[in-house]
């Protein structure tokens, strides 16, 4: 049963920030509500105020300019899977969004809410990390960009300040040689393991490799050591090194044993998914 709360309906990011600053822990931002309202109904969290941000203007669009794809934090998963710009420029993100949770969640849930709730088994953060995305945080005193790596701190914890709100995501527009993929595996509704890889293929050489793993541990993580192993290698050499890169990524995932699988099982799956993801974009 949802307990009574007061609904605030600010019209600007500055107003949201002011409300967050004024009411502190007793207030929470409400966007799609697909995670928050469930937790509130379960009685796991209680807030005196919900700050409805759905009426903020300009945060529900996807646009591209000056080599950057801008995604408004209020864009729903459904919007993103149907965005023609993303279909053209970031098909890996479109594919990810097509497979987020279920159709009800995709209709109501927003990309911003997904990132801010930082549920460990969420998909988007992992791919955004590999895509080199930056997240735009705003508060009364200004705006800043946070890399996806720095955004995720721990399970359910981000680096947003108490009076900051996420307003958008900036993804560098991939070049002609850029490739990316996100693969996940799970037998429950939420994935056990998610692996993302992005790279550029210059002839026979793989460059700018970025690898991120998520869902297995408390938060998505970049795996610089595995990236360095594959970077600058020929396709064939990289394929030979994939088991080693997979093992490194598995350890880096900080996998936790739980109902989604044991730690060693998840680490193994990281390796399997990395190999499949790499082959899907390089072969």
């Amino acid at each position: 049963m949802l307990k009574r709360f007061r609904l605030e309906e600010p019209e600007s990011a500055a107003e949201v920030s002011e409300l967050l600053g004024r009411f502190g822990d007793s207030a929470k931002i409400y966007a799609g509500g697909t995670e928050l309202l469930l937790a509130m109904k379960e009685g796991l969290v209680q807030y005196e105020r919900l700050i409805n941000v759905k009426k903020l203007k300009g945060l529900s669009e996807v646009s591209g300019e000056n080599g950057t794809i801008k995604i408004g934090a209020l864009c729903t998963h459904h919007q993103l899977e149907n965005s023609s710009l993303l279909q053209q420029k970031l098909p890996s993100l479109v594919k990810l969004e097509q497979n987020v949770a279920n159709v009800r969640v995709r209709q109501a849930g927003s990309i911003g809410g997904n990132l801010c709730f930082a549920e460990p088994h969420a998909d988007p953060g992992t791919l955004l990390m590999a895509l080199g995305a930056k997240l735009v945080a705003e508060k009364i005193s200004g705006k800043r960009e946070i890399t996806a790596e720095d955004f995720f701190v721990d399970a359910y914890e981000t680096s947003l300040a108490a009076d900051e709100l996420l307003t958008g995501i900036r993804v560098p527009t991939p070049g002609a040689n850029s490739r990316s993929a996100y693969l996940k595996f799970g037998y429950l509704e939420r994935p056990s393991v998610g692996v993302a890889i992005a790279l550029t293929l210059d002839g026979e050489t793989v460059n700018n490799v970025k690898i991120a793993v998520g869902c297995a541990g408390p938060a998505p993580r970049r795996v610089a050591e595995a990236e360095a192993l594959l970077n600058g290698k020929s396709k064939d050499e990289a394929v030979r090194l994939l088991p080693q890169a997979g093992a490194i990524a598995g350890r880096a995932s900080e996998a936790i044993s739980d109902l989604h699988g044991a730690q060693d099982y998840k680490e193994h799956i990281v390796g399997v998914l990395l190999k499949r993801a790499f082959n899907s974009i390089v072969s």
Binding site: L44, V45, P120, Y156, I256, S257
Partner: protein, 150 residues
């Protein structure tokens, strides 16, 4: 969930033992523990355990019962509490052993932690990780406090 920890403290066993029973100083080393009170000296204590994972906060008013006590070497205790707001219960069975080694005291403890109720919805893995962090911080705080007394 079973946890086993060991901490080596550069202090004599008598001093470590005395510290354990100095409830105010001891509780100050338990992360998120406050309002410790002695109900019956050496036997029963109460305290409030406050923990947080992201937006999820729990507050367990906890009763700690000392079940066994062997001077300078062993303590068996049980702690239990309930957060009625969230509808969750916590039970900890604790075995603490002290032994001397060279000029150090080795404190080893085994904690069986059970979390029941809605909090379990957060996932076993997340709770286990949090409990592990709390125990590590506790062990480190005990070491720092006692060694700082030198």
């Amino acid at each position: 969930m079973q946890f086993e920890k060991q901490v080596e403290i550069l202090a004599p066993r008598e001093k470590v033992w005395k510290f354990i029973w100095d409830i105010d100083r001891f509780i100050a080393c338990v992360p998120g523990c406050k309002d410790a009170k002695t109900v019956e000296d050496g036997k029963r204590y109460t305290a409030t355990m406050v923990e947080k994972v992201g937006p999820f906060k729990v507050e367990f008013p906890t009763t700690i019962d000392v079940l066994e006590r062997e001077e300078l070497s062993h303590i068996k205790a049980q702690a239990s509490g309930a957060d009625n707001k969230i509808g969750s219960r916590m039970k900890i069975a604790l075995d603490v052993n002290l032994r001397e080694q060279d000029n150090k005291t080795v404190v080893s403890f085994v904690a069986g932690v059970d979390i029941l109720g809605k909090l379990a919805a957060l996932g076993h893995g997340i709770i286990k990780r949090k409990a592990d962090q709390v125990l590590d911080e506790f062990a480190q705080a005990v070491k720092t406090t006692l060694e700082g007394d030198q």
